[in-house]
Amino acid sequence: MIEIKNLKASVDEKEILKGLNLSIGKGEVHAIMGPNGSGKSTLSYALSGKEGYNVSGEIKFNKKNLLELNTEERAQEGVFLALQYPTEIPGVFTKNFLRTSLNSIRKANGESELNAIEFLKILKEKSTELKIDDEMLARPLNVGFSGGEKKRNEILQMALLEPSFIIMDETDSGLDIDALKVVSNGVNSLRDPDRSFLIITHYQRLLNYIKPDFVHVLSDGKIVKTGDWKLALDLEKEGYGQFIN
């Protein structure tokens, strides 16, 4: 369902992705691992349409080329990027943000917008599963949230928006074991035959909890090796040295 062909991305004329090819089928979970500077974050931004990157190639998704869409249009198509460091936005209240987001996506897809009561019912359901209490939802977006709370909030957004392609950028960074479990359980409960995941991570640890169908090694802007989840174990043992020129 996602077909990435010859994806190149550069910032300030420095090429970071150098012709990346990747195909992710419906319902599949792919992990991308790679050393620092290999282009992992750039890949997530190129997929989600962040400005400031010069991107070429093709990202086929739902018969559209994502590169022709801006950030919000991609999100409305069903692309979701879970950020490594979710941004703190003082004054924007979490609940209000969640409803605006959900309604923007519903509207773009020709669905009716939810009123406050309908929205709160869904929110209650999803937030309870993730052990997110009302107090947290009443706070400004991510402000004063712990690392774990921020990531749970990201998972809550996934659960609410129900995207069909989820990119997770170093979601495990800064999480203790307990938080990691909550986050992984959240992700696992969202696994679905119609939903694909691309998990970008530095360490193999997260993959103990979210078992991928495929593991790719990203090095110097290209995928240099592909295997099943055992490849992650090998990498953990032997490091990235063998892939770095």
Binding site: K50, E72, I89, G91, Q157
Partner: protein, 416 residues
Amino acid sequence: MENYENIKVNFDSFIQSLKSNADDIEFRKKSFNHFLTNGFPKAKDEEWKYSPLTKDLNKFLSVEFGKSTEQNFPEELKENYDHYPIIFIDGNLQLENVQENGLKIVKNEKFLKSVKKEGTNPVLNFTNAFADEGYLIEVEPNTIISKPIVVYNFYSKNFSSNFVSAKNFILINESSEITIFEKNIYNSDQEYLITSNTEVFLAKNSKLKKYNVNEENKHSTIFNFTKANLDEGSELEHFTFSKNINSCRDETIVNLNGKNSFASVSGIQSLLDNNNHEIKLIINHNEEFTESSQFIKSALHDSSTAAFQGKIFVDSQAQKTDGYQLSRALLLSDKARFFSKPELEIYADDVKCSHGSSSGSIDNESIFYLRSRGIDETDAKEMMIKGFLAEVIDKLKDDRFKKIFFSKLGHDSENV
């Protein structure tokens, strides 16, 4: 030098028409003469460097008082909760006196209780010379007034002169509490000058929440002066919501005269077109164990200009002072300008004072985050601006007014 001959004539005929006592007349004359020595402030005066008034005041070298045929205040403009109204129509006070349950609201007759001391502020002297209306609010000791007072400053379409000036007096006696909401409503498109001088006295352990709204004004020049004196253990929360205001200077001086007194002075200013707004604050810590907070946020569109001058003064005997000041501005256009002048003047050695000031554009990372959740760029920016300003409102202590200000901002708060 501007020609003040017309104003002199205006003043003489004003004084003759006044049926006041000798003290009052004497003070007005002194104030007027003081005003005349230097005239209206100029941009070269340090205290008025960033003030929009310096370019506008010279439009008013001849003044004419609140002439108006308007008698009625439109019911639909009234707040929809139980309150004590004080209504000014085109500067004329229409008041049903209140004297119940320890609360007194009357005309500030002859300004008997006002402090009669001329200062160095020319516009304040001008106001003291000319002010012809005003309210007086007094709360008896040990009285908690739960119903807020709402002051309506209404300018009707029938307003036909160019000057309105008021002098108000608020006295909250020991261990009493009240909330006052002052609302300016401009239905007139005339070019006029509005000045006000509000004196506030907070006795021991009393509390005042004073909230002001000043919005949607296209042509007038406004000067609001408030001076608050706080005794031991008293608390003041002063907040001003300014939106789309042509030309205005809000000046507030707070004297923390008693131990454990606390003042919070905050405001937001959201401006567009050629709006010009200045906030000037001085907090004087005159006694030990006093605490203050200044928090100002500005969102500046188009060619608007805003200025913030905030001072924390700490007297040599005001040990254990805690003074805080923060000003942040969002510049939403290349032509918008923000001037910030934080000042700390500290003569005590055991104090905690902090200040910060920043101005910049909307954070791109935040916009990206919102857009990546399907929110259009325009909506995302709007959310960011509202959220930025809402932070000041969120800190207010009064839930009812928090909601009122959030909705003025078009910002949903705790709910969705």
